[in-house]
């Protein structure tokens, strides 16, 4: 060895080999190349695996904020300007850009102040005529911002903060002032001129501005007035028209009153903790409809509407919070119902402030707790001990991103709030929810909103049921066909034919589903509608015809039979299928005339079955068509790969081919068939275009084969391009995608594991 090395070294000049250094260098280069290649490939491999994992991570990341509750962060504390001990606070609000706060004092002093420092930016006094004084205050729905002072002569002054925006030097500047949409002159509400001890007002947002006021006079009469304004087109002068009425008495002393935006319903809380409901539909014949004990052994300490003035939130002495609204029964009578309860506070609720554009609210109590709650989802997002002492008041920012709290030392604290997705909770997504204006809890998906008062209905149940319904009917169609065809192709068919048939069916897997969807929607759906009897006669008749053909073939003389060897049955059946199909379609109208009074669709409707043109039957066939190749291909492989010695053994023992099939082949191949079904099902669940095009996309919860559905995937395709990025709706669609992803991933993993086991078993057999 050493000798040869030495000789190599010695005869370096004679050898064709490059010199030792050069060789070493080349070796180094080669090693380097090897290393680079290894690193490159490994990092590419990791990169790809990571980017695929990223899909899951990212979807999860987008969904995660849904699970988060709310949080508040104190930003600034200052003493409330514009109020004194003699002239206490009546009302506290925040302006839209969260730059200004507004305090309304009991005597009509309105102060606009900086929300972070408390510095007064403007102060105005509501005009009160000489010799009169303010006796009470009322605020309408927060989003409209209308407020009113009741005067000692039974008149009311309406006012509203108004903000003018200007952008000098590209900086936003807000100039606040008070506006008087119903005139600066007080409007006489009580014809008898008695001062009010309590007042509630509301403004209608539909059509011309109209206000409504209900006041309780010192002599305990309830008076109501509807104030309508009309602007003269030529002079611009505003005339007001007032309709007054006296309302029926209620049996107890009222403590709180609320009138809704439709001016039809008045809710009064009394000292004993009862809620009274008065129907004001006909103002001159107002009816006292109902009284309920809203807080047994407890007293109502705070009460307010959620946005839209449909739901009432009631807060009690003991800290309980409950939501109420009117529910219509079968006889069209409305009654107040306790809809849901929120996590209670530890002490008496002092003030409830609703959010401006969502069905949430913030509540403060006597022990200094701040609670953020949400109606639709029944969620309590946060209860935090903000202060030691009691909190008297709270104001919500119009964009739900900040609150003011007021303690008993007249100190205001400005909190920033993170509360992005209160309307989502497991319960809101998956259980029945009692939505406003519905007579019972329901599953509803209705994400789009026409206005701010709309209650988003995010129940994933209709979509999930729709998805499963579509997949179910697709599997109902695809499963028997796919598996039977696989069995026949793998086991009974002649190899020559198999070589043609298998690729033909498999190429269908590559067919774009948009084509299947468009055929289903534009051709199959109308075809089925006008040929319903044909569909059913095919369903029942085809198998029968095949058996008849089989029998006929068996009864044929053997010289005919021998002409076609076994394994060609499928070809013999082609004319049967085609001819019978043709006959069924041609005969369809005659069947309709003979059995269904001329129209099967009408007949179904008459028998109480709703029929949509684009229904589950159409989807079942079209999507089944998309799934058949998947099931067929995998199942066929599983059956075909059953070791031949097993079947030969069985046949040798005298079993017929069919008995061998059922007794030997199928049990062996069943895991493969199972995994075929799993993968097929996964495909049906996630398919988008077919359901998008072949169903009506209406999110309904039923399993009627003649009605449509909306699936998770179609819903994403329809709604995702139109949602606001980062909104709850956006995240919920991501959640839907994550659900689809996880579900199909699990299905496919099960299928894959089963398949690998099977492969191992085959090799050991």
């Amino acid at each position: 060895m050493t000798e040869s090395v030495a000789s190599a070294r010695g005869k370096a000049n004679d050898s064709k080999l490059p010199s030792a250094e050069l060789r070493a260098k080349r070796r180094r280069v080669r090693t380097l190349k090897d290393k680079i290649s290894r690193i490159g490939i490994t990092s590419a491999g990791y990169g790809v695996v990571f980017s695929l994992a990223l899909i899951f991570i990212y979807l999860f990341y987008e969904v995660l904020p849904i699970l988060k509750g709310a949080s508040i962060e104190p930003q600034a504390t200052f003493s409330l300007p514009g109020v004194t001990e003699q002239d206490p606070l009546a009302h506290l609000i925040m302006e839209r850009y969260q730059e200004l706060g507004v305090s309304f004092s009991a005597q009509g002093q309105v102060t606009f102040f900086n929300s972070k420092t408390g510095a007064v930016s403007k102060q105005e006094q509501v005009p009160v005529a000489e010799g009169l004084s303010t006796t009470t205050f009322a605020a309408g729905e927060a989003i409209g911002g209308l407020t009113a002072y009741g005067l000692s002569n039974g008149a009311v002054v309406f006012t509203k903060p108004h903000y003018e925006l200007s952008f000098p030097n590209d900086q936003r500047e807000i100039t606040p002032r008070l506006s008087f949409p119903y005139g600066e002159a007080p409007i006489q509400v009580d014809p008898q001129g008695q001062p009010f001890t309590m007042l509630t007002i509301q403004e209608s947002t539909r059509g011309r501005p109209q206000a409504f006021a209900v006041g309780l006079t010192v002599d305990q009469r309830l008076v109501a007035a509807r104030i309508a304004t009309r602007e003269n087109l030529f002079t611009g002068a505003i005339t007001t028209q007032v309709t007054r009425a006296e309302l029926p008495e209620i049996p107890n002393t009222p403590t709180k009153m609320l009138v809704d935006k439709s001016f039809r319903n008045l809710f009064i809380a009394d000292e004993a903790g009862n809620l009274h409901y008065l129907d004001l539909t006909d103002l001159n014949q107002a009816r006292w409809v109902q009284s309920v004990d809203a807080s047994p052994n407890d007293a109502i300490t705070a009460m307010d509407f959620l946005v839209g003035s449909v739901s009432i939130i009631v807060g009690t002495e003991k800290g309980e919070l409950s939501q109420w609204f009117l529910v219509r029964d079968e006889d069209n009578n409305y009654a107040l119902e306790r809809i849901r309860d929120f996590q209670p506070h530890n002490a008496a609720i002092r003030k409830i402030a609703p959010e401006y554009t969502r069905k949430g609210f913030v509540a403060v109590d006597d022990k200094g707790q701040v609670g953020l709650h949400y109606g639709t989802s029944s969620r309590t997002l946060l209860i935090e001990d903000a202060e030691q002492g009691p909190l008297h008041n709270v104001a919500m920012s119009p964009v739900d991103k900040a609150i003011f709290t007021l303690n008993n030392q007249q100190q205001v604290t400005y909190y920033s709030v993170w509360n992005e997705h209160p309307q989502l909770s497991l319960k809101a997504l998956w259980s029945r929810v009692w939505y406003e204006g519905r007579s019972e809890p329901e599953y509803i998906w209705q994400s789009s909103s026409a206005n701010d008062e709309f209650e988003s209905k995010f129940s994933l149940m209709p979509l999930t049921v729709g998805t499963l319904k579509a997949a179910f009917f697709a599997m109902l169609f695809a499963m028997p066909l796919g598996i039977m065809a696989a069995i026949y192709t793998a086991y009974f068919m002649t190899p020559k034919l198999r070589g043609v048939v298998k690729p033909t069916i498999e190429i269908m897997e590559a067919l774009p589903t948009v084509i299947l969807g468009f055929l289903a929607g534009l051709w199959l759906a109308p075809f089925m509608e006008s040929n319903l009897p044909a569909v059913f006669s095919l369903l029942l008749g085809l198998p029968l015809m095949m058996l008849l053909m089989a029998f006929a073939w068996k009864s044929m003389p053997s010289n005919v039979r021998n002409r076609v060897p076994a394994g060609w049955e499928a070809v013999l059946l082609i004319p049967i299928v085609v001819v019978f199909g043709y006959i069924a379609v041609v005969a369809s109208p005659y069947i309709e005339v003979a059995f269904f009074d001329g129209s099967m669709r009408q007949w179904l409707t008459d028998n109480g079955i709703t029929y949509d043109q684009r229904n589950a039957l159409v989807v079942g066939v079209a999507m089944g068509f998309a799934v058949i190749p998947t099931i067929y291909s995998i199942a066929e492989d599983a059956v075909f790969n059953v070791p031949k010695h097993l079947t030969q053994g069985s046949l040798a023992l005298g079993a017929t081919p069919w008995q061998t099939m059922m007794g030997v082949v199928l049990p062996t191949a069943s895991p493969g068939i199972f995994s075929a079904l799993m993968i097929g099902f996964g495909r049906a669940v996630g398919e988008t275009m077919i359901v998008l095009m072949a169903t009506g996309n209406s999110p309904i919860v039923n399993f009627n084969i003649f009605e449509g559905m909306r699936t998770l995937s179609a819903n994403i395709a329809v709604e995702l391009p139109e949602t606001a990025v980062g909104s709850s709706h956006f995240r919920i669609l991501f959640l839907a995608a994550l659900v689809l992803f996880t579900f199909t991933f699990i299905l496919n993993t099960i299928a894959e594991v089963v398949r690998q086991r099977l492969r191992k078993r085959y090799s050991s057999l």
Binding site: D34, I41, A44, I55, L481, M484, M493, L720
Partner: protein, 559 residues
């Protein structure tokens, strides 16, 4: 009989029936698309039908193409508000394309067979394909220029008249082309330059360039802008002249009900006389229409005209996708098969990757929209395209994101196929190469990978076929109903990755389901579907052919 059932023979027939049914359905589906798609282009004869109303005995005349007929029950017909004579249980109705939407309101009408005269096919009927309002069916009367009749159709001069009409049509089409060229090409280029100047200015604002430096640049920009605007004025005048010229001649037509209508040649795409054409001429027209369908741009909310931008968009997108998916898919497969330690982790990773092929495509779309467009695109815009904000450049759906999303979607397909290709290579070959002293990378790149090319090619082609047919994710990440420009054109940088594209699959969805005139759009949808099916079947067959070919080619090497 009992024995027969016991032997199981009937059940074998039944399973055979399942195969038959599947194959018949596949054939039926392809046949349906083919028949409907191909027949879209056939210039069918125009029938004249006289119809007597069963109630009022009024007679009316229709001129149009018979689209199809069907038999419905009398009850259904009556439910729809029609009067059906007593004693008829089943009635036949015809769908007639009568065109003339601007005159008659609807271009497709259903008419019952009862009360119908025999179909006549009168000679001399013009079928005018227009840029607006669909087809026009009628008899020509005269050509007018500026309202003055120049040529009238008389029995003697019919041949000459038709030639004049065709010449006028040819001229109008040529003018239309030059207008398009100016509007799209020249004015479009000017607009691009203007936009570039605006961005330049904005960038200067952002960079805080001020003082004399700014003044010189600004002066330059202003002079450029003035030059562009001067150019624009010239083009504008040219255009106005063309428009004025084009609107002068009209063709006076007589409809079958005797009313006259004048049609501007400017609105005419083509005029044919199907009832006077020989079979050969019809075939010529047929292929002319097929060619037009494949190469023209869509008209009338995509319900007329061609699908060229959709074909072009599909191909561009698939091409960009292939460039991205091939290297990564192949490298990942090589890693998984050759470098990764074959333990439990690799096994899990492999199963996961395989399973991603079964994840619904819409999920990829959601991911693409959220991560690529809003997150990556938004950041790219903030860093590189600040001047163009707030209008997004990459922070909005577009070609690049669509391709990237589909690349991710098809990655598992490429990986699976490449891995299969790698697995098929006998280990003896690898060992032989290693034994000769080759390093692992040399073995890999010189021996193994070339042998595995069939697998890779198959994977890539299958990926392309899948990507070409995928629609759901594309609806979210970059495909639109009507893209104003193609993603590749003569403007720098030639491939515009941020542009939105049209896509065949989405075109089908859009035209079939979102168009105002479904009946008119239907044949076009079938034709588009046929194109897409053809594309995908061809791609799949190519995949199979390449695989077989390469397998043959390398068999000798590996044996």
């Amino acid at each position: 009989m009992k024995n027969w059932f016991k032997s199981g023979a009937p059940w074998i027939w039944l399973t055979g029936g399942a195969v038959t049914l599947s194959v018949v359905m596949v054939a039926g589906l392809l046949g349906l698309i083919a028949v409907r798609g191909f027949s879209h282009f056939w210039p069918s004869d125009v029938a004249k039908i006289e119809i007597t109303d069963p109630v009022s005995q009024e007679r009316s005349v229709l001129l149009g193409e018979i689209v199809r007929s069907e038999g419905i029950t009398a009850v259904t017909a009556r439910e729809a508000g029609n009067t059906v004579p007593e004693g008829q249980e089943i009635v036949t109705r015809y769908l007639i394309k009568q065109g003339n939407r601007d005159q008659l309101g609807t271009d497709f009408v259903w008419r019952f067979e009862f009360g119908m005269s025999d179909f006549e096919y009168p000679a001399g009927v013009y079928v005018i394909e227009r840029r607006e309002w669909g087809n026009f069916y009628g008899f020509p009367k005269a050509i007018q220029i500026d309202g003055q009749t120049t040529t009238e159709l008389t029995s003697g001069s019919s041949e000459q008249f038709h030639q004049q009409v065709q010449a006028a049509v040819a001229e109008a089409v040529a003018t239309h082309h030059s207008i398009r060229k100016i509007e799209r090409g020249d004015i479009g280029a000017l607009n691009t330059q203007l936009e570039r100047l605006r961005l330049q200015e904005r960038q200067l604002d952002l960079d805080g360039v001020a003082g004399s430096e700014r003044a010189t640049i600004q002066a330059d920009i202003d002079s450029q802008r003035a030059a562009i605007e001067a150019d624009y004025l010239v083009l504008r005048n040219e255009l106005d002249a063309l428009y004025a010229d084009m609107r002068r001649n009209t063709l006076v037509m007589e409809m079958v009900d005797g009313r006259e209508a004048s049609i501007r040649f400017a609105d005419v795409v083509s005029i044919i006389m199907p009832n006077d054409m020989s079979a050969l001429q019809k075939w010529g027209e047929y292929f002319h229409r097929v060619w037009g369908f494949l190469t023209d741009e869509p008209r009338e909310a995509n319900t007329e005209g061609g699908i060229f931008p959709a074909i072009f968009g599909t191909i561009t997108m698939v091409f960009v996708m292939s460039i991205m998916v091939t290297p990564f898919g192949v490298l990942a497969a090589i890693y998984l098969r050759e470098y990764a330690k074959q333990g439990t982790v690799t096994k899990i990773v492999r199963i996961s990757v395989y399973n991603l092929a079964g994840v619904p495509s819409i999920v990829y779309g959601v991911f693409g929209l959220g991560f690529f467009i809003y997150f990556l695109g938004g950041n790219i815009d903030r860093i590189f395209y600040e001047a163009a904000l707030p209008s997004p450049t990459f922070g909005t759906p577009g070609l690049f994101w669509a391709s990237l999303t589909l690349a991710l979607l098809t990655l598992p397909v490429v990986i699976v196929s490449t891995e299969e290709g790698l697995a098929r290579i006998p280990s003896t070959i690898r060992q032989g190469s290693l034994a000769l002293g080759a390093t692992k990378s040399e073995t890999l790149w010189r021996v193994v990978v070339p042998l595995a090319t069939p697998g890779m090619m198959t994977g890539l082609i299958l990926a392309i076929a899948r990507a070409a047919g995928e629609v759901a994710p594309l609806m979210l990440v970059g495909v639109v109903k009507l893209a104003p420009t193609l993603p590749i054109d003569g403007e720098f940088p030639f491939i515009h990755l941020e542009r939105k594209i049209m896509h065949l699959g989405f075109h089908i969805f859009d035209v079939g389901f979102q168009s105002p005139n479904v009946e008119a759009a239907r044949p076009l949808v079938y034709a588009t579907a046929l194109t897409l099916v053809a594309l995908i079947v061809i791609l799949n067959l190519t995949a199979i052919a390449i695989r077989n070919h390469l397998r043959e080619k390398y068999r000798s090497d590996s044996d």
